[in-house]
């Protein structure tokens, strides 16, 4: 299937500062591509480049199979929703939504009927005569969406559309965007710094850091097999445990040794992964460390650990222990009897383990 969006070797600099470096990304028709990364990493810049609002310093951008590298924004067949919504302040909601059609010379009757369709879809029919200043944040968000929807473009671009909403509304709108994507079957590119938004919405995630792509993959791939320490740490909450360890070969597998103060080192045997360097960073998600007896599997190994802290979080209880000088979080069931200061047998699921090189941070297994 030909990609709806294809970015090849894209570079972008402002003067001497390189903002984006050799970006290669594609989005399949009907896909939901999420660009995620910390603030300032170049997400908005990349989205602006796709929209044609910023010129690029190198590479190419194809949309719907056409080379759009030097095409102006209005001819790229895109629609965009901005972080600040960017509603036209002196126009009513209706005029905000129909402005684009008016500029393009769409006749009055078509404009009116499209406006009605979109207003119904977004449930903003009763707001059409209001000015943006008379709307709440959530309503402005909907109007901004309406302005994009009414274009019926090949590609939707969203720049952190939910970041100005309060937490509850954000979750609601997230679901609604997901539903919209499903109903329209349209291709969407969505920028966010919120990894939960990325995980819940995306069919494909691009993780960016300092203008460089760190990893591209499905949410599950990114979550289960992060390509480096940055991705491992950035995606997932609570974050993946990243524990320095020593390895040595042994009959039957790799012996993993984790130092701890005031006790013998933790020793685990990994029967699957060989050929590791002597010093590694071992990565395990909190849910891959459980209370002994609650996790079964060939690769599960139990270790007695001193519990420092217990954090009940409703459905789960998180317990924190110290290994190799790091806080290690385990996700236990809510009925656990773990007490701070006492010891507990924890089950480490080495079937889910990630190893990273200590120097480069790259994934090893």
């Amino acid at each position: 299937m030909e990609a709806m969006l294809e970015i090849r070797n894209l570079d972008k600099s402002y003067g001497a500062t390189e903002i984006l470096k050799d970006i290669n990304v594609s989005a399949e028709p009907g896909g939901f591509l999420v660009l995620v990364g910390p603030s300032g990493c170049g997400k908005s810049t990349l989205l602006n480049c796709i929209a044609g609002l910023e010129s690029i310093s190198g590479g190419s951008i194809h949309i719907g199979g056409r080379d759009m590298t030097h095409v102006s924004p209005k001819d790229r067949n895109i629609a965009m929703v901005f972080q600040s919504y960017a509603l036209y302040p002196t126009m009513s909601v209706a005029r905000n939504i129909t402005f684009g059609m008016k500029v393009r010379g769409v006749d009055r009757a078509t404009r009116a009927s499209k406006l009605q369709d979109v207003a119904r879809q977004l449930q903003i029919e009763q707001l059409l005569d209001r000015r943006p200043s008379q709307l709440s944040g959530g309503q402005r968000q909907r109007v901004a969406m309406g302005r994009a929807l009414v274009r019926d473009p090949q590609l939707f671009l969203f720049d952190e559309p939910l970041s100005n909403l309060d937490a509850k509304l954000r979750v609601e709108m997230r679901l609604e965007i997901k539903k919209l994507h499903h109903d329209l079957g349209a291709t969407m590119v969505y920028v966010t710094h919120d990894q939960i938004e990325a995980m819940t919405l995306a069919t494909k995630i691009v993780v960016l850091k300092d203008g460089v792509v760190q990893q591209i993959g499905s949410p599950a791939e990114i979550y289960r097999r992060p390509a480096n320490l940055f991705v491992a740490d950035f995606m997932g909450s609570p974050a993946m445990n990243l524990i320095p360890a020593r390895t040595s070969r042994e009959s039957g597998g790799t012996r993993i040794e984790i130092e701890r103060t005031g006790g013998a080192p933790v020793v685990l045997i990994d029967t699957r992964n060989g050929d590791l360097p002597e010093e590694v960073i071992l990565g395990l998600r909190p849910e891959d460390i459980a209370e002994a007896g609650f996790r079964a599997g060939e690769e599960v190994q139990e270790v007695k650990c001193l519990i420092d802290m217990v954090e009940p979080a409703g459905a789960d209880t998180f317990v924190v222990s110290r290994l190799a000088g790091r806080q290690v979080t385990a996700r236990l069931h809510s009925e656990t009897t773990a007490q701070p200061g006492s010891t507990l047998d924890l089950a480490f699921d080495l079937g889910k383990v990630s190893y990273f090189a200590q120097d480069t941070g790259e994934r090893l297994n």
Partner: protein
């Protein structure tokens, strides 16, 4: 009100009230001081010459007469002509209205470009324009005279309009630029995606937002251009002089006695339009100077 604590020797509230009255008194005094000349002008203009000679300067007119106003408007002599201020007043209107309109419009477009369509050298150009605001007018009189002659509009009203437009652009650009930089750049981006071009965005999105700053600019420019004397006297000739120059000529023409009442009436007539503009649009002036532009 019942107060449990014993009252201090000097009631602090009484002290505050006294202070406030003192403040009001001082302000009233200043207001009086500033309004005094206007009062004298108006009363004098309504007196006959005889009454002026016999009475006191600050006395109210015994017999109100509009004769001086009539003379000032239509028959006072400046030099050899005795047509009053009327033709010159209309000269001023004919030159101020287009000059204000054109300089305001150009300032709006300039401000829009500099604030929202950042291009290489935009800041330099803006700095140079600001610099232009503060060049003393005297410096440019000769070069400007040459330029007007070269353009073939020396001594004409279009020539004066040209001069005022050129000298207004610095300030009008400054006003609009400072207003438009507060408008988020995403607005232009959204409009570009919507398919609107440079002028479409200007007319449909920026112009409707600009009423407050437009008022500020129009009042400022109107006052500057209407009250201008130096350019008026330098670049006009008999028949195209603005009202300020004509007023000067009437007051200074030395035929017989000094007609103070006519002079006062003429001065008020010449000053009236700027007062009028401020009275009508003044509230926008205050608002525009303090306005943030967009919310949401």
């Amino acid at each position: 009100m019942v107060d449990a604590t014993p009252a201090p020797l000097v009631n602090p509230r009484a002290g505050q009230v006294a202070l406030r009255w003192l403040l009001f008194a001082i302000l009233a005094l200043f207001a009086l001081f500033y309004l005094m000349p206007l009062f004298v002008m108006i009363t004098t203009s309504l007196k006959s010459l005889d009454e002026i000679r016999s009475g006191s300067l600050v006395a109210l007119p015994v017999q109100v007469t509009f004769e001086a106003w009539r003379t000032a408007w239509s028959s006072a002599c400046s030099g050899i002509q005795c047509e009053g201020l009327r033709p010159y007043f209309w000269n001023s209107v004919a030159l101020t209205v287009p000059a204000v309109a054109v300089s305001t419009l150009i300032g709006a477009v300039n401000g829009y470009v500099i604030a929202q369509w950042k291009f290489r050298g935009a800041n330099l150009i803006f700095s140079l324009m600001l610099f232009g605001c503060f060049i003393p007018f005297q410096v440019v009189l000769l070069p400007m005279a040459r330029t007007l002659g070269f353009m073939g509009v020396a001594g004409t009203i279009p020539g004066l309009i040209f001069v005022h437009v050129i000298y207004g652009i610095g300030f009008t650009t400054l006003f609009f630029r400072n207003y438009y930089v507060t408008i988020p750049v995403e607005l232009v981006k959204a409009a570009k995606v919507d398919g609107a071009g440079f002028f479409r965005i200007f007319w449909s999105i920026f112009m409707p937002l600009s009423l407050p700053i437009m008022m500020v600019t129009v009042i400022w420019q109107f006052t500057q251009i209407w009250n201008d004397f130096l350019f008026g006297v330098s670049f006009s000739q008999a028949g195209t002089q603005p009202v300020t120059v004509a007023l000067n000529n009437i007051v200074n023409s030395t035929t017989g006695v000094k007609e103070y009442n006519v002079n006062m009436a003429a001065a008020i007539i010449a000053a009236f339009p700027t007062l009028f503009v401020y009275a009508v649009a003044g509230k926008y002036f205050i608002r525009g100077l303090t306005a943030g532009s967009v919310k949401g």
